[in-house]
């Protein structure tokens, strides 16, 4: 069997490249990371009608072959054949947006100089028709000296023709009509001369110039309005967070019921003993307490994917830019920071679109301050136990208000930390905001679906590896060694975990934490939400997570003082505990120094905030 044909998909951002990739490969994609940089590597397998297999790599979108951001470096290196990780492609499919022909043709002209066979996917033909633009693919093909295939990626139209062209026979015949690609050896022409040539080609190929889309223009008049725009943005965010909580409730109950069911089956079918305890208290309770957040994470990502695909996200960056500048950040940092409300990991990864390395670093450093979904169970537990369910200021729920305050505390401290960093450690030229506000589009269901499946897979893999492992480890530490026969304290007091907790108590006692909390903080390193399960284990409870959460609340009410509870909440606004975040930060910044710095500053803030909360509330109460 012959080797798979290596094909690369390239194009300007907003050319519909990812949609085309989804249409070509469907669910047969593999998303990974390029080592060293957190740029996602999307590759998929495709079988041409003649049985030849094709490996297709979706290279990050770029406006030119001059690399300006880590994303673009990957594309540049892969195409130039200088990449350590990506073999040079044997052929390139260049996605060209029919509604912005001139700009995209310039990029094609740059590509042509590489001497790799190129097929042009003339994409978004439907949007071009909508705007009254008429392009003659034949003329474009003749002028460029390249095969051109009109496509509408979101509707799969033309995708078949594209796949067809990849048949070995058709491919050969196709290229018989065109000059063989030659690698240019002369000095690269200036951007201006490329622009001129692109203008010439585009005007020949354009049969009819379009009119500007009225809908996009009218929508922008509202969405980008200096007053109405921010109001809309706030409403969108409000609806998003409401949805994350409200819509997720039901599926979360189902997952919970499923975990409880599994625990019951385990209890019934396994003999009482260590192994049953491991399965029920360690694995099921621990992993279940994490998997339960899947609905919330998927809802949040659904919003982010839709906002991104519709073209609104870039507008949000535009609207937020002024505010972000105050913190020394770029409007583009808004997207990574918003993603961080789901989880800091995708947030940190989304920072890759920021071209200035210092801005990127600052954004990465403050991303963990955004209240991620993993902190919710901790907040929910403590608030339910200690904050009275009353209303204040005429009808505002006090519990909800505290929750909102905790979110706000995270946001405000992120802005302050970013501002301080930009004035000290990551000082540099003021960040730039240069971005395209793409035309509005209705997001396509397939793209949403593929994106969500992808997120679910990444999340569950984490639950199945690092969280599973840490729960087993915690269970082991909390169960051994067994207590002496004349034990007066709970079993865990005598275990290894208990000893660790009592040792750590020396550090945490000044901020009001007892040894039980200290123990729970350790497994919380793996994932913050594990702390709830860990507290449950520590307070010698077993059973389902929900039972733990509700009865644990009662136990905590008598075991903790109010200042301790408040200090614990304050701790979790800043808590650095999340190994995955630190690992991603390490990979992304490529620096141990910055990773240690991130841990250190978060720990310090958490410690100071918890301590201040403890002592102030003690003085007041």
């Amino acid at each position: 069997m012959e080797d798979a044909l290596r094909l690369a998909l390239v194009g300007n951002p907003n050319s519909g490249k990812s949609s085309l990739f989804n249409a070509l490969t469907g669910s047969r994609q593999k998303v990974g990371n390029y080592p060293g940089v957190t740029v996602e590597r999307r590759a998929g397998l495709l079988t041409a009608p003649d049985g030849r297999s094709i490996e297709i790599v979706d290279l990050p979108g770029t406006y030119s072959l001059t690399p300006n951001s880590p994303d673009e470096v990957v594309t540049h290196d892969a195409l130039m054949g200088t990449s350590q990780i990506e073999q040079a492609p044997e052929a390139v499919v260049c996605v060209v947006d029919a509604t912005n022909l001139r700009l995209h043709v310039r990029f094609v002209l740059e590509l042509k100089r590489l001497g790799i066979p190129i097929v042009i996917a003339l994409n978004m033909m439907d949007l071009a028709a909508r705007d009254g633009i008429e392009i003659d693919p034949g003329l474009l093909s003749k002028e460029l000296g390249l095969p051109v295939i009109p496509t509408v990626a979101v509707r799969r139209s033309g995708v078949k023709d594209l796949v067809e062209s990849l048949n070995a026979e058709v491919w050969k015949k196709l290229w018989a009509d065109y000059p063989a690609p030659v690698r240019a050896t002369d000095a690269p022409p200036s951007v201006r001369s490329l622009q001129k040539e692109a203008r010439r080609i585009a005007s020949i190929a354009t049969v009819k110039e379009g009119v500007e889309n009225v809908l996009t223009r009218r929508t922008d008049a509202v969405v980008l309005h200096p007053v109405i725009g921010p109001v809309i943005l706030l409403s969108v965010l409000f609806v998003m967070f409401q949805a994350v909580f409200a819509w997720a409730e039901q599926p979360m109950e189902w997952i919970d019921a499923g975990v409880v069911g599994l625990q019951q089956i385990a209890v019934q079918s396994l003999p009482d003993g260590l192994f049953r305890s491991l399965v029920v208290d360690g694995i099921l309770a621990g992993v279940g307490s994490v998997v339960i957040f899947l609905p919330q994470i998927l809802i949040l990502f659904a919003f982010i994917i839709v906002l991104e695909a519709s073209g609104y996200m870039a507008r949000a960056a535009f609207l937020m830019d002024r505010l972000m500048t105050l913190a020394g950040l770029n409007g583009r940092a808004f997207i990574p920071l918003l993603s961080s409300f789901a989880c800091a990991i995708p947030g940190i990864m989304a920072a890759r679109t920021i071209d200035n390395p210092r801005d990127r670093l600052t954004t990465i450093m403050v991303a963990p301050l955004m209240t991620c979904a993993a902190r919710l169970p901790v907040y929910t537990l403590i608030i339910a136990a200690f904050i009275p369910n009353t209303t204040v200021f005429g009808g505002v729920g006090l519990q909800g208000l505290v929750m909102f305050g905790l979110y706000l505390a995270g946001i405000v401290s992120a802005l302050i930390v970013a501002g301080v960093l930009k004035r000290t450690l990551t000082k540099g030229a003021p960040p730039r905001l240069l971005l395209e506000l793409p035309k509005y589009q209705v997001p396509h269901v397939r793209d949403l679906f593929i994106g969500l499946v992808e997120r679910a897979r990444l999340f569950l893999r984490r639950a199945g590896t690092i969280i599973l492992f840490s729960m087993i480890l915690l269970w082991g530490l909390a169960s051994f060694p067994a207590p002496p026969p004349n034990a007066t304290e709970p079993d865990i007091f005598y275990s290894a975990a208990g000893k660790v907790g009592r040792a750590l108590e020396v550090v945490f006692a000044p901020i009001g934490f007892n040894w039980e909390i200290s123990v729970a903080l350790v497994p919380g390193m793996a994932a913050r939400e594990v702390a709830v399960g860990a507290l449950g284990t520590v307070y010698s409870l077993s059973g389902s997570e929900d039972a733990v959460a509700s009865s644990l609340a009662t136990v905590l009410q008598s075991a903790w003082s109010l200042p301790t509870a408040l200090a614990f909440l304050a701790w979790y606004v800043f808590a650095p505990q999340c190994l995955s975040t630190l690992a991603v930060a390490r990979r992304e910044t490529n620096s141990w120094g910055w990773t240690v710095f991130m841990f250190g500053y978060l720990f310090t803030l958490a410690y100071v905030a918890a301590g201040a909360t403890y002592w102030i509330s003690r003085a007041l109460i």
Partner: protein, 99 residues
Amino acid sequence: MTQNPAQNTTLTLDHLQIGRPGRISKIGAPCGTEADPHLEDLLLSLGFEEGAMIEMRHHGAFGGPLAVCVDGRMLAIRPADASYILVEPAPPPVSKEAL
């Protein structure tokens, strides 16, 4: 630089009024400032092109970024970077001249 809107003098993009179309006449450092080839490259590759039609659409509040329409594409740019783009405004609409 004089900025009499009735005359066809060039002005930097950050001074272009909302709703007034024009044509990009030059991309480069404004008079009296140091050249920044990196910015020039960025602007060119993003589609700011000498000769392209340009129209100011929105000003972000409190000196925020500007949204401009360049040959039918919407681009966001901060005022400081916009000063790198020299624009020749189209003659004002006839109705205004009649006044």
